[in-house]
Assembly symmetry: C2
DNA sequence: TAGATTGTTAATCGATTAACAATC
DNA sequence: TAGATTGTTAATCGATTAACAATC
């Protein structure tokens, strides 16, 4: 569980380094990154050491070098091809999400069961769900996004698992069953909002 | 930080209780909830005790009673009215998100600067950003969602803060500045995907 | 060299789990 | 009552922080 937090921090370090690079920084110190992300310098160095990311004693971290190491750990050294199932409101929003095109993340195809949504010749083709297995195997896709209504989520998860998908980003509020060899990241909007509401009402400070 | 996790678990207990209620359970034990959510029974009771949620020694927890207590902590005992700024892809998806209508969460208005999006007479009115302050004050809105492009996020945050918003759900990848009295929940899709990708490539098990 | 920063080890802090007394 | 489950206290575990030796 806290491995998750550690990797999330790594993404934030990466984003901070990108910002500093755009400010023409050539090297950064653990202290800079601590300030930029709101953690301690110890934490930064500890995180780096756990992922085998190293700098120069006395000389801090070379920005380009550090960025390379961070990107490698985060899988951003190569293009990550994803598919999405469910081309409704959320699905369409993700297909057009500008944040992905900038990074090494690309949704390469969408799947649905509604034939009015099919668009096999579009830039990002929308295909029948039946074709998912073939597509995934042929294109060696490892990661899938589930953006279907509740009642369809578990079935779609099964299809993905059978097709050989290794990681699932689940936007439905359904808790998917544990399945060997598949990592699931659940993103339940209602739960996230409940969290925010709690801290607005009762708690204090930032989450 | 781990308070966040504790509240997230509370939401999961609530969802589990709802499922068990739909199965006609009248009472549940900490052990049932532990199984349903994948934590220990000790954790369930500890979490409950920290939020002042109590059951009956020997008799477990009455489902309706427990649900009432959980809903109260999570602010689901009254309707939560939200506004959203940015009626693009993500914004539209959230306006139509079916998960909210079922729960006590309702987006009551959208704001944008693009006049082609205005729809003041729609069921959920889409209004000019200029009108946000008035609307928020008049309707005592506490929570706002930011679904605008990167470059506009910080400015919109400023407008919300001035208007008296207490909690912000931020879908932009921009890290908003700390501001006294405002809670921010950042949801950066790229970061979440990087996390998933990491565990697919290097790690193992579920996140 | 002297000074400064990393990388790592030890100390602290907090969260989770185990155990058990209270009690229905 | 006997048995079972809560609520809480104590023990454990793990993550964060502090300190410092290594070294550039």
């Amino acid at each position: 569980m806290s491995d998750r937090n550690r990797v999330l921090r790594l993404s934030r370090y990466k984003n901070a380094v990108l910002r500093l690079k755009s400010l023409n920084f050539v090297k950064v110190f653990s202290d800079n990154l601590a300030d930029a992300t709101g953690v301690t310098a110890s934490q930064v160095r500890k995180d780096f050491s756990i992922f085998g990311i190293s700098g120069n004693r006395r000389g801090g971290y070379n920005v380009d070098d550090l960025l390379g190491q961070l990107n490698k750990v985060l899988g951003k050294d190569k293009l990550q091809k994803l598919i999405i199932v469910g081309v409704g409101n959320i699905g369409k929003a993700l297909l057009n999400y500008p944040g992905f095109s900038k990074s090494e993340i690309k949704i390469v195809a969408g799947f649905d069961i509604d034939h009015t949504k099919f668009a096999p010749n579009a830039e990002i083709p929308i295909l029948p769900l039946d074709e998912l297995t073939n597509y995934v195997k042929k294109n060696r896709i490892e990661i899938g996004i589930i953006a279907v209504p509740d009642f369809a989520a578990e079935q779609v998860f099964g299809v993905m698992a059978e097709a050989g998908i290794k990681g699932v980003f689940n936007f439905s509020p359904i808790r998917l069953p544990e399945r060997a060899g598949i990592v699931v990241n659940n993103l339940d909007l209602e739960t996230e909002l409940e969290n925010l509401i709690y801290f607005v009402n009762c708690g204090s400070g930032n989450i």
